[in-house]
Symmetry: D3
Subunit: 278 residues, 6 copies
């Protein structure tokens, strides 16, 4: 199956039952992103979303140095981000189309029906945040260096960090601090404010723990985990009354699954249930 998932800048493997591993693979450039990469990323996650053999995903960066150093600034400097026409409105429209497409690729991680665990190690700058904030769970290591780097290249971050971060952590003062200063911060701080929910010694241990968590999630009813992801994301963006109403419409179908009966029975019988593919 892994053969079907061939992409220049990504390694896809299936290290455990129902678990996919997506590895950003441009370690010689600290996994910095060029345009082809976010197009690939989108294609990969749209496919994993509907792949019946996948129930949980871990997302990592190849190499020791970086999850990703963010946008490949040199490539960007030659590319669309600095392209102009003579007319500022026409330039604006070209840029808006570009931003939309870029945002949409990154959002495909969030739209993926299966839970995604991002494991941030080493340099985790700029796009590292946009990307991992589209994932469901963030883990890091004792030496991860985070930075919301965009203001240092004259930009307000526009690929998702500024939209998702205020809803992902528990301190708006801290959000403003790190987005306005672009300062580097570590895992202890990331854990304290809630950006990550687990910190491990090093990359090896973090990946192992991430895989363990992915395997645990993959052992649950895929109807239940898909619904949980969908409903938490929905509720993040809506008031409680809205969340309850959408939840009722969603579960009116989903509660009919055979999985509920199987899971309940297994629970009472203290054995492990199996669930059919989704």
């Amino acid at each position: 199956m892994a053969e079907e998932y061939k992409y220049d800048y990504f390694n896809i493997s299936f290290p455990a039952k129902y678990v996919a591993h997506v590895e950003i693979n441009r370690p010689e450039k600290m996994n910095a992103f060029v345009e082809q990469m976010w197009l690939n990323l989108s294609a990969i996650f749209r496919r994993l979303s509907h792949d019946p053999t996948v129930r949980a995903i871990i997302l990592t960066g190849a190499g020791d140095r970086a999850f990703t150093a963010g946008l490949d600034v040199k490539a960007a400097a030659e590319g669309s981000i600095t392209r102009t026409s003579e007319d500022p409105a026409r330039t604006a429209n070209a840029l808006r189309r570009h931003i939309y497409e870029f945002q949409s690729c990154i959002s495909d991680v969030e739209k993926c029906e299966k839970p995604v665990i991002a494991i941030l190690h080493g340099i985790s700058y700029g796009l590292a945040l946009d990307l991992s904030l589209s994932a469901d769970i963030r883990l890091s290591t004792s030496t991860t260096q985070f930075s919301i780097k965009e203001v240092d290249i004259g930009l307000a971050a526009d690929i998702g960090t500024l939209s998702r971060l205020p809803k992902a952590v528990g301190s708006l003062s801290w959000v403003k601090d790190v987005t306005l200063s672009a300062r580097i911060f570590g895992s202890e701080e990331a854990l304290r404010v809630g950006l990550v929910s687990g910190v491990y010694k090093d990359k090896k241990e973090a990946v192992a723990e991430g895989l363990k968590l992915a395997s645990l999630i993959a052992s649950k009813s895929p109807v239940a985990t898909m619904g949980t992801k969908e409903l938490v994301n929905y509720s993040r963006d809506h008031g409680v009354e809205e969340g309850l109403r959408y939840t009722a419409a969603w579960n009116a179908a989903m509660v009919q699954t055979q999985d509920v009966k199987d899971a309940m029975l297994s629970g009472l019988q203290k054995r492990k249930p199996t669930f059919s593919k989704l």
Copy 2:
């Protein structure tokens, strides 16, 4: 007065002036919920909401072992959650009605005009979260065992946890972690992410502290505390501009209360004000 509040599965008492104590009372089943219980719960809180002798409420579970173990799965397995007709749409409609009613009963704790302090001890699974997230303040003990258990019975939680939790705590990564894995976590973790705002040695101490806090709140102007609950809940679900507008409409009436004058004067005179019933 306590005589008027007679329910099979709940003990209602009035341990301090203007303070009500609602105890879930099915300790032999670890306070697991059957349908009658959430119907009772709704009736109790709708009544307390308008009871002029009540200004703050504590909510606890009877016995040493559990705040509540959640839904009584055996009862549910025989009941509506697994009921089906031959037509999936008609089944869906029956389920939706059932979910709405269940959600509505639990939301009556949130809609109660008086602040509610939930004290979670021992086993606090599944519905324990739905229920306590509808309360205003959550306290726990050093041995509380929390779990958002629903995925283990094949379900995305639909009685409020997924809608309220992302707005109640400060780490979306952690929310996804515990809702997707159904793992058990303790009070230290609950305090770190903000799920509870106080942790005490054991149930006895936690209830005593909860009662102390309830008494403190009950000593304030009931106009002020009712408004504070209403406006915080409103603001949780709306943008800041919306919050300010609703606040102004609300306080245009409420600021006219005699309580403001009494409280100000008492403050200047360093004495304790009394407020008339609400």
Copy 3:
């Protein structure tokens, strides 16, 4: 330039390049606010918002004892908050106008295009929270005493605290605790729940650190920092999809700035860029 910023109750200075310092200056009354003060505050921040020589602002209270003790209750008791007509509806309308104007003055700190760092020391009660929650970053000292005092004068806080606090920190249980009890809490707790993002030994050190942070922010592209403030505030109040759409419209213009090229080039050349005025 400082001469142009003359106000009775505020000192305005410019301690570093592109950095303004606004000091609440009524130390003999612990910087308690009378109506003239919030009108001044509004005028000051509306002006700083468009002042091309300003890129970051720190906000402090004069004297050793207090950032601000909040509303001057004596003045308020004689003023509008207790004014009544014979008709409760007409009184309500007068009060609503008053609340709107007061809210609007405090919101001008949030609407200021330049990032604002509030440094809370000593007594920080009531309005101290409304005001600093309109700022972007909150810092405090080891001895700061915070209290959301309003319920103690018979009021639900209506100048912004109840609307902004649930979105500024990571524990709704804690929000209800401190807003309903009006209890005093310190910096350790404020840091834990995310209300402040830095705590320093004393006022002197906190102001020095605040100034350092302001200078750092002021050294960045003003197009980037203005956009970052705007987009984080927008995203706080909207769902993620909404945030991304607004971000794209915003950055379609802003990414065209010369600052991006200058910042990128400086980055590659390891030198410090300069940016033209905004």
Copy 4:
């Protein structure tokens, strides 16, 4: 079955298969509403909502003179609307509870799962609009006299007219005209602005046509008509993207109904399908 629906102020009958007829029955007072009536109304529509033998409902007023003249002002003058305590805040709270309950009763017509056709004849003042705007379809007669009467008793209408009317018709200028002036208008105008979708000669003809329309709707799949009502009401209150998302969640269950196959087959075979009860 009709025996089970016995209420003092309402006649309930079942004039056609799957069609219920609710008649407001206080003709000697032009069907003016006292509190008992809106409590009854709520009970009736909550029951019809889940009654499997009902698929469409018509709502009319008894007698020749009025659908309803609105609130019984004399009764109201002696009742809650003018009740006061000495404290304006406590009075406000009592009034708010009262308004909520009244609104909720009227909204039960909107929440009823089955489509409701209101037929307005003769005097149709005040509450006539609140009530019929909670229905799905409004029909009238050549002599209906409409008036949004509330400003004439010193009130902004608060039982639903001001919330629903701007979304029910196609002229905000007209909405302001009739709500601010309280002037009487007729069916020609009501049809032009879209308040009603059909005008008939007299009550008899209008009721006959309403019954015909109800029968037509009742002949369709109840899964389809329930969903249509729900989704149109949802979309009225949400943006298009939100509407599409909720629609997909809703129909994911509902499209599985046997009714789709039966209806398609009947369509191809040119015969009339029958659908099982909902």
Copy 5:
């Protein structure tokens, strides 16, 4: 009193009890707007909003030829709309500030607590729509020529027309037609789609009828008419549930007015009530 309302480009008079008449007064330029005019307009309506002697307002244009021909394009061409700096982002920021201020001035008509009736005669282009859509009621004459002219000067209308028109009329297809084509249309069409709610023979008759309507509104309880304007505007922008909740909070204060008792009593006694000033 009229002496206090002196503005270069506007005539303010008080033609009837509690009624103000605001006349745009630059007939030699077909009442085309220069910047000073929208600043004046804002000042006038903010003042009328709180003027206790005013309960309804009519807004007209001086002269026979035009309500207003819109923006004074020559003045604009020399002014801010075409101002640029070398940096497109800095230009964008200057433009955004300008648009905000302009929008805000026009919105002050909507924010005015008292109902505003706009009477459009003759040429009514561009800003004529932005302005009159901020009013509550629109009347016109048999010869009014409307045009949403902005695309003809290379612009999407940004002072309110595109935001308010889709909610003011009953045909989105028509909204797109007239905003995209900039074609001129007349009163018959305006009445059909609901843009205006009354069409009269000529300016004289329309002003007379507008004055009559303003007088009628001014004879009602000002508490009731202010609330009606506020609640309709609120509901235009919110879902029904939101509208009902805000309405209840609003009316909890407002229903306490003496006006309700006076109006009810007057109604029963068939005499005209008088209401105290607001």
Copy 6:
């Protein structure tokens, strides 16, 4: 250029400068839709959206009999709409994916940056409405037969009609009438409620008028018409304050276009401007 736009079921031509004509081309089946067709439709409109030689689009159906008879029910009956698995939740998920994709294809007409004029003639059932409601302007002929047909196949319409219709026309009573009854209605009624904004004698005349309107729109600044479409659609889905804020961010870039200067100058010089490509 037309050669590049080759699709089995659609004819694409360019009948006038900057104007594209998209014709649904399956007349032998009354242009009924099979899955390939909505996939094609999406591809076509995504391409036209960015095609610099296109500024306005007309959308028609081939043949005399129908714009489109809607979904090809026979094909659907064999396809996904009736597909099931044994598990209702898994079936629901497959259906939801299918609905999302179908909705998304139709929404691409709305997302197309260029204005789209749909011309409905003859049979215009079901999908005819979903599709044309995604267009900007709807025109029809004296013999068009409209029907929102979905309830007749046991379905609540889920491809856009129920989400867009309540915001497109001016009578919610009429929306419920036609969506619940599935009755056929004609152009007179469609014009009265605002569904269409122009009715012409026959298809030939309607297409000619549509083309004339498209040519007029195509003669305007493409920056202005794109912005107008975007801002009207945005405002349809948001409150007025939100609309104004987004508009200001949008126009901050767009007003900088050379088109404004060219259009203003041309206007003053009474000549026709030309605009560069977008």
